[in-house]
C-alpha cells in the first residue's frame, strides 16, 4: 500500500475544492445566528452564576470582616 503523501494530495484541485468547502462550512457554522445566540446565552448564564457566587462569598465574609474592623485587625 502506497504511503500517505499529503503534498501530492494537497496539490490536487479536489483538495483545494475540499479546503474551500470545509472553510465555508466552518465560517457558516460559527456565524449561524442560532449558534451565536446559544453561545452568548451560555456565556451569560455562566457569568451570572459566577457573579452570584462571588457576591455570596463576599457576603459570607462580611460578619468576619465587621468583627475584624471593630477590633482594628482588618488593615
Amino acid at each position: 500500500m502506497a504511503p500517505f503523501d499529503f503534498l501530492s494530495i494537497a496539490a490536487t484541485p479536489m483538495f483545494s475544492a475540499w479546503q474551500r468547502a470545509a472553510a465555508e462550512m466552518m465560517t457558516a457554522a460559527a456565524r449561524d445566528p442560532r449558534l451565536m445566540k446559544l453561545s452568548a446565552g451560555m456565556m451569560r448564564s455562566q457569568l451570572l452564576w459566577g457573579r452570584a457566587f462571588n457576591n455570596a462569598w463576599q457576603a459570607s465574609w462580611a460578619p468576619i470582616d465587621a468583627l475584624a474592623d471593630r477590633d482594628g485587625s482588618n488593615v
Binding site: E24, M26, R51, V75
Partner: protein
C-alpha cells in the same frame, strides 16, 4: 486581614503567570508544527524565532509598563525621538518581528531613536485601572522621560490600533508633550469599525458582567473574539504551512507572526469596561462626550501635525472608523495615508516595509 480579597488578587496574578506559560507553549508548538511541515518536504527545521528581533535596552520599569530604547543606527548627530504606543491587546513587537522585517529597525536606520512602551500584565491592579492611568499617567511620563534624554526635545508619537486611540486622547489632553502624531489602523468612531462593533453590541455583550467575574480580560478570550472574525483562518493557515514549508522564509514569517498573536497579556479590567461601554457601545470619543478622570477629551485640542495611516483591507478597524478622526481635530497639518493591506499587514508585511514605511519615515522627518 481581608484574606478573601487577597485570594482574588492571587488568582489574578496566577492568571497572568498562566498567560505567559501559554505564550511560551504556543511558540514551542508552532516551531514543532513548522519542523514537522519542513520534514515532510525533506528540509531542516528553521532556527528558533524569539520575540523582539532588534537589540534594545530597558531604561525604566513601572508597574504598568516597561520603557524600552531602540537606539538610532546612525552614528553621531542628534537622533529625533519617537515614542511608540502599542495596543493593550497585543504586544508591541509586531513592529520588530524579524531582523529583516522590523519597522523599528527601519526607523533606526532612518536616524530615529525609538522608545517603546511595553505594557505589562496588570495583575491584581487591573480591575481598578482606568484610561486616565494611561492617558494622563504612563504615556505623558514616558514622553517626559524620552524628552529628558534628548535635551528636552519633544518626541513624535506613533500609536497602533488601540494604542493609537490612547495616543489620540493623550495628544488632545497634553498637546504640549509631543511634537507630532502618527496613527496606524486607529479606530475613533467605533460604530463604524465593522464586525467588532457588532460583536460588542450592548444588547448581547455585557462588559461589566464579564469584568465583575473575571477581573481582567484574559487574552485567550480576547483573541477568540478576533478569531471569530475569520473562523476558518486557523484551518487555512495550517494547510498553507504544510503545503509551502519548503520555503524557509515563509515558514519563519509564519512562526514569528503566529507566536506573536498568541503572546499577550491580560487587558486591565477597569480599562476594558470603559473601552467597551464608552467607546464601542456609546461612541463617546467621536461624539465629543468622552471623559477621562472626570474631565472631557476635546479632540479639537489635538493640534500637533497628524498622519493617519489607514489599511484599506482592515477588518479590525474598518477605514471609515479611522477617517472619522480628521474633521474632529484642530491640527493645521492633518493627512491621511492609505495603503492596500490588512490591519497586521501595516507593520508585519514586507510590502508595507518596502512601500509604506519609507513614506511614513519621510513624513516624520519633515514634521519632527
Amino acid at each position: 486581614m481581608q484574606s478573601h480579597n487577597e485570594w482574588r488578587d492571587i488568582g489574578l496574578k496566577l492568571a497572568d503567570a498562566f498567560d505567559e506559560m501559554v505564550a511560551h507553549g504556543a511558540r514551542a508548538r508552532l516551531h514543532a508544527q513548522a519542523a514537522f511541515a519542513r520534514l515532510m518536504h525533506g528540509k531542516e527545521p528553521i532556527e528558533y524565532v524569539r520575540g523582539p528581533a532588534t537589540p534594545h535596552h530597558l531604561i525604566h520599569e513601572g508597574p504598568l509598563a516597561r520603557l524600552l530604547h531602540y537606539p538610532s543606527a546612525r552614528a553621531g548627530g542628534s537622533a529625533k525621538p519617537i515614542l511608540l504606543v502599542a495596543s493593550l491587546i497585543n504586544k508591541y513587537y509586531v513592529m520588530d518581528l524579524l531582523s529583516d522585517l522590523s519597522v523599528i529597525a527601519l526607523l533606526n536606520r532612518r536616524g530615529f531613536d525609538v522608545y517603546v512602551l511595553d505594557w505589562k500584565a496588570p495583575g491584581a491592579a487591573g480591575p481598578s485601572l482606568a484610561f486616565t492611568d494611561y492617558v494622563d499617567g504612563v504615556i505623558p511620563a514616558a514622553a517626559r522621560m524620552v524628552g529628558g534624554k534628548h535635551g528636552g526635545a519633544l518626541p513624535a508619537v506613533i500609536g497602533y490600533c488601540m494604542g493609537g486611540t490612547l495616543s489620540v486622547m493623550f495628544a488632545a489632553r497634553h498637546p504640549d508633550k509631543l511634537r507630532a502624531l502618527c496613527l496606524l489602523g486607529t479606530p475613533v468612531e467605533f460604530g463604524l469599525s465593522g464586525a467588532l462593533a457588532k460583536l460588542t453590541d450592548r444588547r448581547s455583550f455585557d462588559a461589566d458582567l464579564l469584568m465583575d467575574v473575571l477581573g481582567n480580560m484574559p487574552p485567550a478570550m480576547m483573541q477568540s473574539g478576533f478569531k471569530m472574525l475569520n473562523p476558518a483562518d486557523a484551518f487555512n493557515k495550517l494547510i498553507s504551512l504544510m503545503r509551502d514549508a519548503a520555503d524557509g522564509e515563509r515558514v519563519r514569517h509564519f512562526v514569528a507572526l503566529e507566536s506573536w498573536l498568541d503572546d499577550n497579556v491580560a487587558f486591565p479590567g477597569g480599562v476594558y469596561r470603559d473601552y467597551i461601554r464608552a467607546l464601542y457601545q456609546d461612541d463617546k470619543l467621536c461624539k465629543r462626550t468622552m471623559t477621562i478622570g472626570g474631565t472631557a477629551v476635546d479632540l479639537a485640542k489635538l493640534t500637533v501635525p497628524l498622519l493617519n495611516v489607514i489599511a484599506l483591507r482592515d477588518h479590525i478597524c474598518a477605514p471609515p472608523a479611522s477617517r472619522a478622526l480628521m474633521p474632529l481635530v484642530g491640527s493645521k497639518v492633518a493627512e491621511i495615508m492609505e495603503f492596500d493591506t490588512g490591519h497586521i499587514g501595516l507593520t508585519a508585511s514586507r510590502r508595507s516595509l518596502a512601500e509604506l514605511w519609507p513614506r511614513i519615515a519621510d513624513w516624520m522627518e519633515l514634521r519632527t
